[in-house]
Symmetry: C2
Subunit: 134 residues, 2 copies
C-alpha cells in the first residue's frame, strides 16, 4: 500500500511518539496472523514505510534508518498500518519475504517456558551466515 500526503500527515498527527520520538510497531504476517517481531519507527520511518509500501524501522542500537531486509533480502511488504486507541502503538500487517528474525527464524518470539525451564521452541529456517554473509 502507498498513501496520499494528506493521509500520511493525518496519521502522523495522531501518533503519540515517546520522548525519543519513537513509536513501537508490531509486525504481523497479514494472512496467517503470525506475530513476527516488534521494533520502532520515528516520523521519517513511518513516512518512508507508507510512501514505498515497504517497512522501514528506526534502529535504536544503530541510531539509523533500518530498511528491513536491505542486507538480508528478507523485506516486509506493507499490507496495512493500523494505530491503536490511544495512539501509542502501531500494528503493521505485512507480507514477509523469507524470515523476520535475525537468527533465521520465521518470527522473533521463540523463547517460552516448557516444563521447568526457558526453552527454545522453534529452530532457524536459514543460517545467519546465509542471511548476512558472515
Amino acid at each position: 500500500m502507498t498513501v496520499s500526503t494528506a493521509a500520511l500527515y493525518e496519521l502522523l498527527a495522531a501518533v503519540k511518539f515517546d520522548s525519543n520520538g519513537l513509536v513501537p510497531v508490531i509486525a504481523q504476517q497479514h494472512d496467517t496472523g503470525e506475530v513476527l517481531m516488534m521494533a520502532y519507527m520515528n516520523r521519517d520511518a513511518i513516512e518512508e514505510t507508507l510512501r514505498l509500501g515497504r517497512v522501514c524501522y528506526w534502529s535504536r542500537s544503530r541510531q539509523a534508518m533500518w530498511r528491513k531486509g536491505e542486507t538480508s533480502g528478507q523485506v516486509q511488504n506493507l499490507v496495512d498500518l493500523r494505530l491503536d486507541c490511544d495512539g501509542d502503538t502501531l500494528l503493521a500487517l505485512v507480507d514477509q519475504e523469507g524470515v523476520a528474525c535475525h537468527t533465521g527464524r520465521r518470527n522473533c518470539f521463540f523463547l517460552a517456558i516448557r516444563g521447568n525451564q526457558l526453552t527454545t521452541i522453534s529452530e532457524p529456517l536459514v543460517s545467519e551466515k546465509d542471511l548476512y554473509g558472515k
Copy 2:
C-alpha cells in the same frame, strides 16, 4: 498456564527491562491470531501473570498494577508467554473474555488509512458504560 518458581526466575533473568523497569507485551488471541492490544509489564506483573495464569500489566498512566478485566470483567487468560530474540519484548498468547479495548472493541487497532483519510475500521461490540458502569 502457571509455572514453577525456577522457570519464572529464569524468564525474569532473560528479560531486558527498560530504564523504567518495564517491558512491552503484545497480547494475541491464541486461536484466531488477532492482535488485541499492547501494554507493559514490570517484574511483579510478569510474576503475577505466570503464577495466576491471568494477565496483569503495569499501568504507566496510573503507576499501579493493572489486573486486566478487574473492573470490566474482560479478563485475559494466559495460554503462553513468549520472549523475543533480544529479550526486550513479550508475546502473550491469551484467551480474551469479551473485548480487549476500553472503547468496547475487540482489539485496540481500529484506526487505519482508507482512501485519503485516517478512518475507524471497526465499531464497539459493547458500550463503555456497560464495561465500566459510568
